[in-house]
């Protein structure tokens, strides 16, 4: 395509890109600001990060967030991948309805999912805690994993599997040696999505977490509600670093496999 873009359009798009990234960039920058008051700049410091280490509640919340994200990612990836395989390979009545229904949790506003889970747990008298958070995270992650893996399955060349079968592999071997390796990048992408969605989720977790089970986003929220202080910039920056690190690690992993 050789059509040149109008100069005005290039400027407009450039400005939009700046707006899209400026807020978080400023936030990370100010997490190194020595001044207590956000607007003034009075030199670089690591003071706010050092203070995080004196806050057992923040460290505990970070650990809980990572544990919940890991556990819910494993479960959701397993269940979601199976759902995708069933939908892609199965021929049964109600297939398209089932697939359409998979999008319902994705399009339902989070606040409704959150309160619905809250009343279910209340009705069953299940105490809110780590368990209820994991259950909720697995539930909202299954459709995302399934959709990502399904897209990969639909784009796959089935003739490779058929070749394996023709060459004498039984169904199980063909699946293990041909389908699964081809599917792996899709499963990894789904798992990555699930991990970051779980790590970052605030709204649903807010409703299904108990007093003793505060994840990092829930803690950051209550800190913001209590008042703005430089420590929040540092925690937020940590959250940004952790997700960025996850993406980079996954990219590396995917690159090594390919």
């Amino acid at each position: 395509m050789t059509r040149r873009l109008p100069r005005a359009l290039v400027h407009l798009v450039g400005a939009i890109f700046v707006c899209l990234h400026l807020p978080v960039a400023v936030l990370v920058l100010y997490s190194f600001n020595a001044s207590r008051y956000a607007a003034g700049w009075s030199g670089v410091t690591l003071e706010w990060y050092r203070r995080l280490l004196d806050r057992p509640d923040i460290l505990r919340a970070l650990r809980l967030s990572l544990e919940v994200a890991s556990l819910s990612t494993i479960l959701a990836t397993l269940l979601g991948t199976l759902v995708a395989l069933g939908l892609a390979r199965g021929r049964f009545r109600g297939r398209s309805v089932t697939e359409g229904g998979l999008y319902l949790p994705i399009v339902t506003p989070e606040i409704i999912v959150g309160v619905a889970m809250l009343i279910l747990f209340a009705a069953l008298r299940v105490p809110l805690g780590v368990g209820t958070i994991v259950v909720a995270h697995v539930a909202f992650n299954i459709p995302f994993v399934a959709v990502v893996v399904l897209a990969r399955l639909r784009g796959m060349d089935r003739s490779l599997e058929e070749a394996a079968l023709v060459l004498g592999a039984d169904e199980a071997t063909a699946f293990r040696r041909v389908t699964l390796p081809l599917l792996a990048p899709g499963v990894l992408a789904g798992a990555l999505l699930a991990f970051t969605l779980s790590l970052d989720d605030f709204v649903i977790t807010f409703f299904v977490s108990g007093p003793g089970s505060t994840t990092l986003p829930v803690l950051v929220y209550s800190m913001v509600r209590r008042g703005i202080e430089p420590t929040i910039n540092a925690v937020s920056a940590v959250l940004v670093f952790v997700t960025t690190l996850t993406i980079v690690a996954a990219e590396r992993l995917a690159a090594r496999r390919a």
Binding site: M1, V26, A39, G86, T108, I111, A116, V220
Partner: protein
Amino acid sequence: MAGARRRLLSWFARRPAAGAWALLGPGLAWLTLFFAVPLAVLFGYSLMHRGTYGGVAPGFTLEHYRRFLDPLYLVVAGRTLWIALATTALCLLLGYPVAYAIARAGRWRNALLLLVVLPFWTSFLVRTYAMIVLLRDSGVINAVLLGLGLTSAPLDLLYTPGAVLAGLVYGYLPFMILPIYASLERLDLALLDAAEALGARAPARFWRVTLPLSLPGVAAGSLLVFIPALGAFLTPDLLGGAKTMMLGNLVQNQFGAARDWPFGAAISFALMGVVFVALLVWLRVRDAGEAA
């Protein structure tokens, strides 16, 4: 053991439907138990009496849906609707040029796409908090304006409808850009060459070829922005203050301080109703696009 496995596999091989349901079973059971059932319970609660100390009391009533029609709450519903529509319109206005530029960016395409996806991986809470850092009285924008002498006193930027709108547009813009980009990228450029050969100038080529062919992307993007904006809770909570309450905040109030679960459930289902209308509109547009 191996024989049993083979027998099991061949049993499934003869019954593909049973095999599919065995794969779907665990995931669907989880979603039924922890998504469908909770929604059904929520709906049931919206039709029951309010309990004395939170929770519900037995009995059927429509009073919670009637109460929602009180002007007090209709104002909140109206505000929610216009903020969600304005967010969608602004995202479309800003997102379309970006998607168009990326689709025509040649070797820069992947780098620019990464720049669009990156905010998506960043916590929504952190990004909303970042808006506070920019917008508050002693925030960065006011500091710059004061420093340049453009204003003598800090402007009230935070806790306004404008702040909520800015926060939502900032939060959901990538959802608009990506589907539009996907449909522009698939566009057959030979059609544009044909239009040019037939004498269409650039504006006509855009309005009569490019734009109509990218409508499925526009529809998908609008849906992906409109629905979360409609159910927004965090953004109005942190950036809006009491005067910019949206339906999401009203729901949270009923399950928090107000302890009126049935009313909160009724508001949730009113919200769900609007979501379904939006979905139906999207399906219409999509099917019309496929038929054309």
